[in-house]
Structures are given as structure tokens and as C-alpha cells.
Subunit: 218 residues, 2 copies
DNA sequence: CCAAAGTTTGACCGATCGATCAAGTTTATT
DNA sequence: AATAAACTTGATCGATCGGTCAAACTTTGG
């Protein structure tokens, strides 16, 4: 049964103090790394700063993550799983209006709760995704193909105006993630130091309205 | 009249071979710098690689641009002017539907013709705009305020559904620039090596349709 | 034709980077 | 208690970075 199998990062359920300490340190490392990678990009991020923010000496950081590349891959993988976890509402038997409403709300909520993750991913894409492996061509494309079939179905049954589902997703991704990736710009235009909950709410409401009406769902 | 005033980069109209050579070199430098900054970000970009792509030795690059910071500022300034130059169609006496159509088309055309510029700007925003000075708070905010008044006017005269113009701009910026900033992702999902003209056309058409209908303009 | 100014370039500098090492400490096992 | 394994850390390495220097070369103006 192998109950001693470590489940990765944080699920140190019933374990000795060593496992628990290790889980805590690895969590601190991943959190610090995400912040530094989001702020400075891969090249600009330094292992020294990540170690400092995680509260450990630099050689100790290398003990847990052999190379900067490996640390980045760990951070990235966590983000990709977060990314693919959304949009379970878009299914054939769902109501299109409700599904898109929920999707937009969920995506903007993701931007609010995980802005650093979004920025690391955006940074990776901007620079040509040199460290993303085959995620885009395999996992993401399959994800889009599956959801596109659902939307094509809605179109064929006259439930919404005809659209190219793929470009629709590009638009939804962009319109929602912009509130994480380009938050500085948005905050500056809105005259704030940082975005408030009301800003995200208004963004979600207006984006939903325009998109639903634009798709003939309202 | 001071006809000898150099107008900056390339307008070496009637000048000696030295001025013309200088203009050509500076153009090569800015072009190379834009490409390298877009690909690697500020920290990741190296003066050596910029010099190599511009076809000159590194000390010669420093002769034309004292520091990496100064070179980046020059590249950035050129991009910001390009950015603010769009959207002259959004004016009080214009037809809203035509104005938004033209704006979306112009923005996507900008993404197609200047993807590197868009990526440098996006990269700057993602990392908190540490080198953007007061552009966001001054120039951009004023730009948005001016255009927002126009849109507010259209709303008050019942020409379109009520919206918060600022969030509308966030959506339009995101939906159009995504075709430059995240072109790798889009190309991968569409199953292409790089985006084709038809992709941009379809993007512009569908984005325009959804937005116009969403704003009650169609 | 000559001196001054502008331009080019190989060699080099200190700083910082990712990564390693070796010696230490702490914890788990028997 | 003893041994092995896991973990910690100051010191240090070679590589690369942005930037400089001084000596050469080229154009310009008188």
C-alpha cells in the first residue's frame, strides 16, 4: 500500500517533524520563487534573492532545487495546473450564458487571487515560451479542442451566435488575465495604488455583459 | 530657421556621409535592441547580443548609448509614441460603430506589424513598470480620460449601451494586444508555426462583431 | 595638408551570477 | 550509544555581465 509515499509539496499529513519541516521549506521556496520570477522574469531573477526571501542560505536552496532551471520548472508546473483547472462549467449540457458567466468570473477571480502566477506564465509566453516544453501544443491545444466542440454544439443548436471558439477563448483569456498581468497599468488609469475588490467585481460584471450580449446570450 | 536641426533618428535628408551613416547605425541599434529586449526582457538582454545583432562591437554600442538603461529608454519611448498614436477615430462627432471597428482593426494591425514593440511594453508592465516613469499616471491616464468623455457622451445620447469606458479600454487593449504578446500560445492552439494574415483578419472580424454587439451597436 | 573632432575596436575591470565543495549540525535507525 | 542519513552553511569557483580605457582610424573644416 505504501502509505509512506510523499504526495509532493504540502500534504504532510501524518509525518515526522523532518517531513513537516521540509514541506514548510519547500512551500516557502516555491512561494518566494514565484514572486521573484514574476517580478524579474527568469533571467532577472537571482537564486540569492529567492533564497533570501525564503529565509534560507543560497546553498540550502540548491540543496532543495539543484538548478535555477529546475526551480523554475516546478513553479511553472504548479501554475499550468492552476490554469487548466478552470472552465469546468463549459460542458455540452450546461446553459451557455451561465457557463460563460461562471468562466469569466472564475478567470477574473484567478487573476485576483494569483496575480503572480499569471505574470510568470504571461512572461513565459511573451518571450516565446522557451521553457514551456510541449504544454501549448499538447495539453492546451487538447483543452481548447474539447471546449471548442462544446461551443460548436451550442452554435449549431442555435443557442448562441456563430463564433470561432478558439478566438473567443483568446479574447476571454486576454480580457480576464489583463487584470493580473497588467494590473499596474489598470491601477494607474483608475487612479489607484492597487486594484480594489470593487474593481475586479466591476471588471467581471462589465466583461460578462459585453461578452454575453456579443454572443447573443442576453 | 535652423535647417540643420537633426530631427532624431532617420530624417537625414541632406547631410554628409557621416550623418547618414550615424542614422543607419542608430536605426540598426534600436531595431536590434527592440528584438533582444522583446525576447529576453531587460535583465535577460545583454549589450553584447544587441551589439552583435546590430553588427557592431560592444564598445561601439556604448559609444552611441552610454548605458543599457539609456538604450532601453530610447526603445521604450519609441514604443509609447506608437501606442498613443492609435485611436484617433474615437471622437465625439464620429459614428460609434465605425469608431470602434476602426480602433480594433488598427490595434490588431499594430499587433501584426509591431509585435516586438508590443512585447517590450507588455514585459515592462508585467514586471511592475519600474522603468516607465510617470507615463501611466500622466500621459496614459490623460489619454483615457479624454477618450472616456467621448464614450460617456455616446452613452448619454443613447447611441450605445452604458459602460465604464475605462474597463472597456482594458478589454480592447487586452483582446487586441494578445495577438502580439501571446502569439506563441495562439499559434500553438491554432496549430501553426506562426500567425498568418488570415488569422489576424479573423481575429479582427470576430472581436469587432462581439464588441459591437456587446455594446449595442449592431 | 593639417589639426581637431568624431568614430571604431581589442583588451580589460570589478561586480554579480549560478553552482559547488567541504566541513559542520541535526535527525532517524538499530 | 553508535552509525548512517538528511540537512545546513561559509567560502569559493569559473563565467558572464555592464561598462571603461587607450590607441587606432576616419572624416571634417580651415
Amino acid at each position: 500500500m505504501d502509505l509512506s509515499l510523499e504526495s509532493g509539496d504540502e500534504a504532510a499529513a501524518s509525518a515526522g517533524p523532518r517531513e513537516r519541516a521540509r514541506a514548510k521549506i519547500e512551500a516557502a521556496i516555491l512561494s518566494a520563487a514565484e514572486a521573484v520570477f514574476a517580478e524579474h522574469g527568469f533571467s532577472g531573477a537571482s537564486m540569492s534573492e529567492i533564497a533570501r526571501r525564503a529565509g534560507i542560505p543560497k546553498p540550502n536552496l540548491h540543496y532543495y532545487c539543484k538548478t535555477k532551471e529546475e526551480l523554475y520548472q516546478r513553479v511553472l508546473r504548479r501554475i499550468l495546473d492552476l490554469w487548466l483547472g478552470t472552465a469546468d462549467e463549459i460542458q455540452a449540457d450546461a446553459d451557455p450564458a451561465a457557463a460563460f458567466s461562471h468562466y469569466i468570473a472564475a478567470k477574473i477571480d484567478l487573476a485576483r487571487r494569483h496575480p503572480l502566477a499569471s505574470r510568470v506564465f504571461a512572461n513565459e509566453l511573451i518571450h516565446g515560451a522557451p521553457r514551456l516544453g510541449d504544454f501549448l501544443e499538447n495539453e492546451l491545444q487538447a483543452w481548447v479542442a474539447k471546449k471548442s466542440k462544446v461551443i460548436d454544439g451550442w452554435v449549431k443548436t442555435g443557442k448562441m451566435h456563430p463564433v470561432d471558439p478558439r478566438h473567443l477563448f483568446f479574447m476571454l483569456w486576454a480580457a480576464t488575465q489583463t487584470y493580473a498581468d497588467f494590473a499596474v497599468q489598470i491601477a494607474a488609469v483608475l487612479g489607484r495604488k492597487s486594484l480594489k475588490p470593487a474593481d475586479y467585481d466591476r471588471a467581471a460584471r462589465q466583461t460578462t455583459e459585453i461578452v454575453l450580449r456579443g454572443l447573443g446570450l442576453q
